[in-house]
């Protein structure tokens, strides 16, 4: 097709060709094309098939207000081709068709529309439930939109951005631009958001005259240049607003252009003030077959020609209710399209000049006439127009029907912003009343039509917004208000809704295939509120978010059901205003994790890293996940574990001890110098949430450790539980400041001895001791003698920047004993053999200290501390029927350990396995389980049910813990 690319309004670049693939064929367009304009220029008229009836659908609004033109592009389904820029090499596929959009085998569904009235699903599948599989398997396949391949991977980048501004203006038309300029002149920082790839809005494509011989198009250019050059205004083009939330938080997404590093980016704006200047939509004209390909709105036809250089067809009939329709008819005629006639549903009120221009061109003009029916199966063949009363009719063969009932304000975003809308009898618009604080509206959505009125109303909103941001603009505001009063106000609007003589296929909502007949069915079963009818018929609930049924639905309900004096009320719009890719919400999708200071050393030593909470840690050090060598090294020689993720804190200040007494269940007074105190924290239910050791380093000065998982919440926890006390204590999170090395095994002392001059002999540094010493006379480390894994072990707290150095020193001094790494899994088995619990493995949120056999940690004689959990520990101390922690050994020594989490059963579930492993040290499968207290005595038989065991239970006996070194002799060597 020859494109009218020489038009000054045209947005395609005829020098730059773009090819896309559709149905295996290559189609040519130009840079600046949307996918829809490119396909239309290549003769594609049917873009999709409708949801239920598989009716052919084509271009209608050009702004993606319905799912008519959604397609799958490069594997991503449900994209709105009218707003998607065509890019070279794209592959486009039609959706919801069996065959092709032109020959859809399911097109037959249209004949069964009678079998699918409104509420069809509710009625049909209410009972019996056996019908549900039919609904799920068959009907869902027939009715639907695009499908996403389950193995599809987004190859493109997404981004996110969180700008702050004084004023956010939504809509880059003449009103929005005037608003932005007026506010920027007052010194406000302004963000202007426009959904299309350029500014200009309703002025952009129109050659009609503005002032002083300039066209509206030229005026749009002037405004747009001013806006772009203004340093206080930041413009976001191709950005669709998705939601507006309290405090003027605006969410949107921007489609990236070619030079941008992202495909789409999520935009979240915080603004002091907000101006909505989204203009108007065309209210769809309702008549039989009102959505046949070839029926399109005035703006669609006009912009196809003016913006994309495509004449919609050879000839057209216009059925309109607004002067923009007359203007478009004249302009398209002048561009070379045959205009067969113009019907206007208004009896009068038209711009006399436009009527004269029609006459000059011999275009028949029918006042008080509308479209009643379109003929043709897959495309418009002819249109029946009739008087509004339906008394006279005429058939006119044509290719295109340009149809619109009139204008209606694009109030969706105002509704989302919690603005009340009220029906206005003059314009037929829903106009904002009670705008929320610091939210304003301007331009055509207030009913203005005259170009100057639109601009000045925009200016006024800009000044009002500036006043909302505490700039003083009072004098100027008054002046502009007066100026606006002298300009033409909103013209009388068309109220036309119901077609003359009702048909069966008058679609009020394209997305959901909802017809006027469906609305009438809703009336007949008793629904009279638009909100309820919307839900019953699904009208307005599709991807277009009510763009098509929008105001027609409440107006139709108003005209059909309401008493004459009752004004109609619009349905509520909710975010997302437009469909958004989930990937866009995910944005950059940053995966932020923590690494220990020896992360790289762990990997180079063969560590298989895993996410543990926020950290990356090594679970194994052998490719086959066998941890036998790691365990043997700890039990017989020496090995090192990177335990840097442990929580570490400094607590100081006059009331430090009070804080410790509040959160730890033990008695924290008199922690001996050079000793560690092991204790636990419970929640108010007496359930274990953390354990660790506390060291007193000076007067009112403590150093304590927490489990990895609790490190992040510890300060918050202590502050929370002392929030009413006003105590004077201070906490410093030193978790990342120290790396931790667990040097464990019977040879650990020998290794440490060679790295320090300090005396680490059993006499000088006994079990549960704490020392601060220097490694190689230089590096200060804090060392605790602990025994989590059941062997002699030193926990070295090393300043993080020295960690690599100390690690390498120990690898060096440990060489004679074959020192090696051990990982989390080895530690898990070692500590289990020793009967030590890991919070979250051996406990869940109902597990008290008593249940774990750790009740001895609770010091009951400190009521003055009001210890968190103490009351509950008292109440649950002898409570019956609780799950208790026990050790167990499999009866059949050859049997594999049950999986963690397997349940323990008799006729009911009696508990579950916490951790169970094969122990190389003991040569047996052992584990720990939480079981009902009556099953907790030694030698009790436990029946274990595993997933997929096919009813074949395995058996274990409750065994005494610890399994390994019950006397604890090995800790003390």
């Amino acid at each position: 097709m020859k494109r009218l690319s020489q038009l000054p309004t045209c947005r395609i670049d005829p020098e730059k060709k773009v090819f896309i693939t559709y149905r295996g064929k290559s189609y040519q367009g130009y840079e600046g094309d949307t996918v829809a304009s490119l396909l239309y220029a290549n003769g594609i008229r049917i873009f999709s098939r409708s949801l239920k009836y598989h009716r052919p659908r084509g271009l209608y609004s050009l702004d993606g207000e319905c799912s008519n033109t959604t397609m799958a592009i490069d594997g991503i389904p449900n994209l709105r081709t009218e707003t998607t820029p065509a890019r070279h090499g794209m592959t486009v596929k039609a959706q919801n068709v069996v065959g092709s959009p032109e020959f859809d085998l399911l097109g037959i569904m249209d004949r069964f529309s009678r079998a699918m009235p409104a509420g069809f699903f509710y009625h049909m599948f209410h009972k019996p439930p056996s019908l549900w599989p039919l609904a799920l398997k068959r009907i869902r396949k027939i009715a639907g939109l695009g499908t996403l391949r389950h193995d599809f991977v987004m190859q493109v980048r997404f981004d996110e951005i969180y700008p702050h501004t004084d004023l956010c203006v939504i809509g880059g038309g003449p009103a929005g631009m005037s608003t932005a300029l007026a506010a920027a002149d007052q010194g406000l920082q302004v963000i202007l958001i426009e959904a299309r790839p350029w500014l200009g809005g309703i002025f952009d494509y129109r050659p009609a005259k503005y002032l002083d011989g300039f066209s509206l198009h030229e005026r749009a250019g002037v405004l747009s240049q001013r806006v772009t050059e203004n340093k206080n205004i930041r413009v976001f083009l191709q950005t669709a607003v998705v939601g507006i939330y309290p405090d003027n938080q605006i969410t949107a997404f921007q489609v990236g252009g070619r030079p941008d590093a992202y495909k789409e980016r999520y935009v979240e704006i915080r603004a002091k003030s907000l101006v909505v200047a989204t203009g108007c939509l065309e209210r769809p004209l309702l008549f039989e077959n009102n959505e046949r390909p070839g029926v399109m709105q005035v703006g669609c036809a006009h912009r196809l020609a003016r913006t994309w250089g495509i004449l919609p067809g050879k000839n057209a009939v216009f059925c309109t209710g607004h002067d923009l329709g007359l203007e478009a008819a004249i302009d398209l005629f002048d561009l070379g399209m045959e205009v067969l006639c113009v019907a206007d549903n208004r009896e009068d009120g038209q711009d006399a000049e436009l009527v004269a221009e029609l006459k000059k061109r011999n275009i028949p003009f029918y006042r008080g006439w509308v479209a009643a029916k379109v003929k043709g199966k897959k495309a418009v063949k002819a249109v029946t127009i009739s008087t509004v009363s339906g008394t006279r009719r005429r058939d006119i063969p044509c290719e295109v029907l340009v149809a619109s009932a009139g204008l209606t304000p694009a109030t969706g975003l105002l509704s989302i912003a919690q603005c009340k809308l009220s029906y206005d009898n003059h314009t037929g618009f829903f106009l904002p009343v009670n705008l929320p604080e610091r939210v304003y509206a301007s331009g055509r959505m207030l009913g203005f039509h005259h170009p100057l009125s639109i601009e000045i109303s925009g200016r006024l909103a800009g000044l009002n917004a500036a006043a909302g941001c505490k700039e003083t603009t009072n004098g100027l505001r008054k002046e502009v208000e007066e100026q606006l009063a002298t300009l033409p106000g909103p013209p009388l609007g068309s109220k036309w809704v119901s077609p003359p003589g009702k048909g069966k296929k008058v679609f009020i909502c394209f997305d959901e295939d909802a017809t006027l007949q469906n609305i009438d069915q809703a009336f007949s079963v008793g629904f009279e509120m638009p909100e309820l009818i919307k839900r019953f018929t699904a009208a307005g609930t599709g991807p277009g978010q009510g763009g098509i049924p929008g105001h027609n639905l409440p107006l139709y309900v108003g005209q059909s059901r309401l008493p004459a004096d009752d004004p109609p009320s619009p349905t509520t719009v909710r975010p997302p205003m437009v469909p958004v890719l989930l990937a866009t919400y995910a944005g950059k999708n940053l995966d932020m994790s923590k690494r220990t200071p020896v992360h790289d050393l762990q990997i180079s030593s063969g560590g298989k890293m895993e996410r543990v909470g926020g950290w990356r840690r090594a679970r194994y050090f052998s490719p086959d996940k066998s941890i036998r060598e790691e365990i043997e090294a700890v039990r017989t020689s020496v090995a090192i574990l990177d335990a840097s993720t442990l929580g570490k804190f400094r607590l100081h200040g006059p009331d430090a001890l009070k804080a410790l007494q509040r959160v730890y269940v033990g008695d924290m007074t008199n922690i001996a110098e050079g000793k560690v105190k092991y204790s636990a924290m419970c929640n108010d239910d007496g359930c274990l949430i953390d354990d660790g050791v506390v060291v007193q380093r000076g007067k009112n000065d403590y150093f304590f450790t927490t489990s990895t998982a609790r490190a992040g919440g510890t300060i918050e926890w202590i502050r929370f539980h002392t929030r009413y006390d006003g105590w004077d204590f201070h906490l410093v999170n030193l978790t990342d400041a120290f790396g931790v090395i667990n040097l464990a095994g019977p040879k650990a002392r020998e290794v440490l001895e060679r790295a320090t001059d300090s005396d680490v002999s059993p006499e000088a540094f006994p079990y549960a001791g704490y020392r601060e010493l220097l490694i190689l006379n230089t590096i200060p480390v804090r060392v605790m003698r602990l025994g989590f894994v059941g062997e002699l072990s030193f926990e070295l707290h090393v300043p993080a920047s020295y960690m690599i150095t100390v690690w390498k020193i120990l690898e060096e001094t440990g060489k004679p004993w074959g020192i090696r790494n051990f990982g989390l899994e080895a530690q898990n088995i070692l500590r289990m053999e020793k009967g030590h619990v890991i919070i979250g493995s051996e406990s869940e949120q109902r597990t008290t200290l008593h249940d774990l056999g750790l009740g001895f940690l609770w010091h009951r004689n400190k009521p003055e501390a009001k210890t968190v959990g103490a009351a509950a520990l008292k109440h649950t101390e002898n409570q019956k029927g609780r799950l208790k922690l026990v050790g167990f050994e499999m009866e059949d020594s050859a049997s594999a350990p049950p999986r963690d989490g397997s349940i323990i059963v008799d006729e009911k579930i009696r508990g579950y396995v916490c951790t169970a492993r094969y122990s190389h040290t003991l040569n047996a499968s052992v584990g720990m389980a939480l079981v009902e207290d009556r099953l907790s005595s030694i030698s009790e038989r436990l029946a274990i049910f595993e997933d997929d065991c096919n009813g074949k239970l395995t058996y274990a006996r409750v065994a005494r813990m610890p399994f390994y070194d019950p006397e604890g002799a090995r800790l003390k060597i």
């Binding site: 309290p246 918050e716 502050r719 009001k866 109440h875």
Partner: protein, 90 residues
């Protein structure tokens, strides 16, 4: 995403930065008086008012402060602290 909380240190911030700390129930009761019933009431029983609620929040991702605000549970949004409370809490 729209909830904002005003931290007394950092000012108005996105609600995501905070942790909720429950209704303002007053200081911990004496341990000796805590019968299981009283313990339960203090620990688990909430007023769940439909209206102004005085409650604790922690600026977890910011300055770490625990503080009280008033929130209207019907609109979700924060409401300004009455003057007398400001004086009392200060």
């Amino acid at each position: 995403m729209s909830l904002t909380i005003t931290c007394p240190i950092c000012g108005k911030r996105s609600g995501y930065e905070f942790r909720y700390g429950g209704e303002d129930k007053g200081p911990r009761p004496d341990e000796d008086e805590l019968t299981p019933e009283k313990w339960f009431d203090y620990t688990h029983l909430n007023t769940c008012i439909a209206g102004m609620q005085k409650e604790w929040w922690c600026h977890r991702d910011g300055c770490g402060t625990w503080f009280k605000i008033y929130r209207d549970t019907r609109t979700i949004g924060e409401v300004p602290l009455p003057v007398e409370d400001k004086i009392k809490d200060a």
